[in-house]
């Protein structure tokens, strides 16, 4: 049982470095910030002093004086469990982290469940970060959209709330769904059902629309659909509801690979073969798509690149550059054994 002293108040300051080096604080500051206009000899002396003292700049003081935090937040409006279950988040973060490691920004993850939405907002407004990446999904994203009007925010996926000018990096969900559905049609399927995503998310709505318009264009019926929450469990129960309807279908477009994998289990239980009885296509080239039985034909959504792009756009916004309000990432079909 022992207690530890709070960080002993003896952290070396810039002033101490200046004294030891025999120069002014400004000069030390310039050296620390790699200003080009300092004589090499002085730089050397100052650096020596920094080393002997073990000096590390105080971040709070720096931020207060410069109005820059050098860090940005990645906001995930989901609970922790869902955050870790969904490979999409992992990829986006990886992409963002990868891009930022080339800069000197730090990434702070904010897993913002509905309960502490307030806490998150205060965090962003309190000057903790220079900007934020928001993986927006649900219709309650209005507060972020508002915040985005006078604070640098880049949305991953189109926010549901209207109003103002938003910066978005997205995939064309309508087109992605259309590709997946067209693949089913190309394989001769004529009765194509869908398990749609949540209808309070843009991705959910857009993918449903892509399914509908593609079928209508092909002169095929577009009536069989059930919505779920993008999870395997949700996909499974939607599949059951679809089967309970008793209508026949030979194709299924699931709006996410996680839902598709849930649906596959139910199909199997009901003695329906894939792709024999029902052809299946989906979106997301993740673990679930690759390891499903059979492996799923899917539309690859480049989440890692999306994360990197989001970070890039945000950093450029912070630096005051002009950036496009909308960046669309390309998608492409990956054919496997499910259709």
């Amino acid at each position: 049982m022992t207690s530890l002293l709070p960080t002993s108040g003896s952290a070396p300051t810039l002033e101490m470095v200046a004294a030891l080096a025999g120069v002014s604080r400004s000069t030390v500051s310039r050296v620390v910030n790699a200003s080009p206009k300092v004589t090499p000899e002085v730089v050397e002396i100052v650096n020596a002093a920094i080393v002997t003292l073990g000096y590390v700049p105080n971040r709070a003081a720096r931020t207060l004086a410069s109005r820059k935090t050098d860090s940005i937040a990645l906001v995930i409006p989901e609970n922790t469990a869902k955050f870790f279950a969904d490979p999409f988040f992992a990829s986006v973060i990886q992409g963002a982290a990868m891009f930022l490691s080339k800069t000197d920004y730090t990434l702070t993850l904010l897993i913002a469940s509905e309960t502490d939405a307030q806490k998150t907002q205060r965090y962003l407004r309190g000057g903790n970060v220079d900007g934020a990446l928001v993986l927006s999904h649900h219709s309650d994203d209005r507060s972020y959209v508002e915040l985005g009007q006078n604070f640098p925010i880049v949305f991953g996926g189109r926010p549901m709330s209207q109003g103002g000018r938003n910066f978005v990096v997205d995939v064309d969900n309508v087109a992605a769904a259309a590709t997946a559905v067209q693949c089913l049609i190309d394989h001769g399927k004529t009765n194509i059902a869908t398990i749609a995503g949540p209808q309070d998310m843009a991705a959910g709505l857009d993918r449903l629309e892509g399914w509908r318009t593609t079928l209508e264009t092909a002169g095929l019926p577009a009536t069989l659909f059930e919505a779920a929450d993008f999870t395997p469990a949700g996909g499974a129960s939607a599949m059951k509801r679809l089967l309970d309807r008793g209508e026949r279908f030979d194709g299924l477009f699931a709006a996410s690979a996680q839902m598709a994998s849930g649906a596959l289990g139910v199909l199997r239980e009901h003695g329906l073969a894939v792709p024999g009885d029902v052809g299946v296509t989906t979106i997301d080239n993740d673990y679930y798509a690759k390891n499903a039985n059979p492996p799923l034909t899917t539309v690859d959504q480049p989440s890692m690149q999306q994360g990197a792009k989001m970070a890039e756009v945000l950093v450029r916004m912070i630096d005051g550059e002009d950036v496009d309000t909308l960046t669309i990432m390309p998608t492409h079909l990956i054919e496997r054994a499910s259709v």
Copy 2:
């Protein structure tokens, strides 16, 4: 499209609140920090001003003045890919986040190998956080051990480096391994091999020791082992090496469920039935253990609780309370079909 902030563009300051409320800055500060000695009427007036202005305290200024950041870091000394592949990290973070949401600390994730080690150290030393949780593993953790001598750090798992006093929240890996091996013995297995974890990690070493001593105590041979890196792929190749030796064994203790799942595939390829030909036990009650074929008998390591405990210990350290230098989390056996 309504904006929340005054049109001035810059965020409202404490001073502006004071002016609007007709009190001094000190009083506003007291209200913001819930000081008990402010008249209720004044509190009300100030709060009204805060609301109309949409005031949020500036974190940097606060930190600079108070020497408190109200945030702590969770350092993960692995690359991003491994971070997301290992459910252990997910659980620990979830536990820590859960505990911290009850406090007003914010959690900042530092995936340490993304940035170089130097960058992380500077981050911690630069006053960005009040303390850190370090999921220490490899033998290169000396710098954290050193930093821990005068900065609040709680290690998840015993660090490899010696020296000084460290605060650790761990499971008894020797005992956990012993439990898993004993289970094999209890099922009549007499030739028990092991796939050990990395020998530069405490968990790797301790689990190997638990295997060895348990066998020796039982008067059984303890010679068949191969080390791997805790991943499925590593487990698979260690399994191959084990088989290549040509020695017979009827039991296998894999030091992690991920390695066990990799080993299972190799066993199957070689026509060895589990548990018929080889009984298998492991450690970690995660996705890999539950979804293996057959499901794995394993020792449950309560990672979520460990994360919560780590956060709790750290917060108490920061608050200057006395805490134990070592906290051991309980483990327990979960019997499934693999033995």
